[in-house]
């Protein structure tokens, strides 16, 4: 149970913390029982994620993965973003302790939920 330097760095200086007013998509995952709740907000223009922000209640890994995924998706196309897997996030952080792998799941799940949410909204707006 030891975090990589990258995890610690992202935990200490998380990127893109906050909420987006009038987001195009929101993904919320986790629950307080397992100790992690994550909310991811995206702004989409021309099928590109032009802005992304998060709020996370969770352990060091949860916060670091949240931060990392916002970096990974920023300015990516939705198609590219959808390919980001749980493993992508963990790898980008130089790995996570075994018992913390569930946290990287959260971040990827939140992203995919946010994209889904965006698509649903678009459809119903269409």
């Amino acid at each position: 149970m030891s975090y990589s330097d990258k995890v610690i760095e992202h935990f200490t200086n998380p990127r893109n913390v906050g909420e987006i007013e009038n987001p195009d998509g929101v993904g919320e995952v986790g629950n307080p029982v397992c100790g992690d709740i994550m909310k991811l907000f995206i702004k989409v223009e021309n099928d590109h994620i032009v802005d992304v922000k998060f709020k996370t209640f969770g352990c060091g890994a949860a916060i670091a993965t949240s931060s990392m995924i916002t970096e990974l998706v920023k300015n990516k196309t939705l198609e590219e973003a959808e390919k980001i897997s749980r493993k992508t996030v963990a790898d980008a952080l130089d790995g996570l302790p075994k018992n913390k792998l569930h946290c990287s799941n959260l971040a990827a799940d939140a992203l995919h939920k946010a994209i889904e949410d965006y698509k649903k909204r678009k459809k119903s707006n269409a």
């Binding site: 909420e19 397992c34 992690d36 209640f57 352990c59």
Partner: protein, 389 residues
């Protein structure tokens, strides 16, 4: 960077005098107490002197003290040793739902072996209702095990009444005294438990050694089989330096218990008072008064415990979230859950446990870094923001 250790419930540094007392037994006094030559005799004398010192903690006969490899082994021996030895009488065991994992998991094992386990509920403070105990004792109940001081909250269980009920019904009573030893008295004359577990490394002694009080006449079988060590109740070459260290540690904590409790009370009260002034939305878990003076379990609304530990660690302050033994688990603490503290609040809890070498500057330093940390984490939190809307 200043270093402040506030995790004494997890483990303590070995006191220099304790270590000093141990050293000769690694060196020139290295004999095996089972040996009949001079080296053996020297070791044997040390063993029995340590036993007398530990007996003073319980105000019992030295013949009622058995050395083990720690609190976990003592708990295992109490639970399984009594269970195996008394299975003809019955297979029902009663414990509280806030016990240490050593007790909980021993019972889980016994369940697989055909025993029946009753888990008594606790109230918001972690107290067992004596009426619940009374109600649950059956003809085939062989053992009640309820801890003296809870390791996560520091709450003192008023076990006098519980012990009385078990005694009346002729059922053995074990208490896990790992967190109470050296902090509050455990006089088995006044508090007539049949078995009690302690561990050296929680009282400025070394890791890997503990003891168990077993009242004379208690039916129990050993868990460790082999030679005739510890009057055939615990086989294995005795850890003489460790046992000497335990004896020394017990003697030390007994000697200045009051003085140190006063010191600790001052530290924790100052800390909590000032913390309340600087950080809002916090909650003390456990009983506000019926507690050992060293430990505070505090929930910081809206932020998860591990992220607080990490942040404090970066500032040189060592604290814990729930039991050190359970770190790495996913569910919120079983202790706080049993006290019906909601999951998000339980996950937000931090245990600050002070020790004899802490000074008031440690309090000040911790308070100089903690509010900022909480504020930063809360600013990231989706649930703290929500609750403020």
């Amino acid at each position: 960077m200043r270093k402040v250790y506030l995790d004494h419930s997890a483990t303590t540094p070995v006191h220099p005098e304790v270590l000093e007392a141990m050293l000769p037994y690694y060196k020139e006094k290295f004999g095996n107490p089972s040996s009949i030559h001079e080296y053996g005799k020297v070791a044997k004398v040390a063993l029995e002197e340590a036993r007398e010192k530990v007996a003073k903690l319980f105000n019992c006969s030295p013949y009622e003290i058995y050395f083990t490899s720690g609190g976990t082994e003592s708990d295992n021996l109490a639970i399984k040793g009594v269970a195996f030895a008394n299975k003809k009488k019955g297979k029902h065991i009663i414990i509280s739902s806030v016990e240490h994992h050593a007790v909980l998991e021993s019972c889980k094992f016994l369940k697989k072996e055909g025993y029946e386990i009753t888990y008594l509920p606790v109230d918001q403070y972690g107290f067992v209702d004596p009426f619940d105990l009374k109600k649950n004792i059956k003809d085939d109940t062989i053992l009640v095990s309820i801890m003296h001081v809870n390791n996560e909250t520091g709450t003192i269980q008023p076990i006098e009444e519980l012990v009385r009920i078990a005694k009346e019904k002729g059922v053995y009573f074990h208490t896990d005294a790992v967190q109470s030893a050296g902090k509050i008295p455990i006089d088995v004359g006044k508090l007539p438990v049949d078995l009690a577990s302690i561990s050296a490394h929680k009282i400025y002694g070394p890791k890997g050694v503990g003891a168990i009080y077993i009242r004379k006449g208690t039916r129990i079988i050993p868990l460790s089989h082999g030679g005739h060590h510890e009057r055939s109740r615990r086989a294995g070459t005795e850890n003489i330096p460790g046992i000497v260290g335990l004896g020394e540690a017990v003697e030390m904590v007994l000697k200045d218990m009051d003085k140190h409790n006063k010191h600790l009370k001052n530290l924790t009260e100052t800390f909590f008072k000032k913390l309340k002034e600087t950080v809002k939305d916090i909650q003390l878990n456990g009983h506000p008064e019926k507690r050992i003076p060293s430990t505070l379990n505090i929930s910081f609304k809206g932020v998860e415990g591990e992220s607080i530990i990490l942040s404090l660690d970066m500032k040189g302050v060592a604290v814990a979230s729930g039991s050190a033994c359970t770190s790495g688990s996913l569910e919120p603490s079983h202790v706080l859950s049993a006290m019906r503290i909601e999951p998000a609040v339980a996950q937000s809890s931090i245990r600050f446990s002070f020790g004899r070498e802490n000074v008031i500057d440690d309090v000040d330093y911790t308070l100089s870094v903690l509010p900022e940390i909480i504020e930063r984490l809360r600013s990231m939190s989706p649930i703290y923001a929500q609750s403020k809307k």
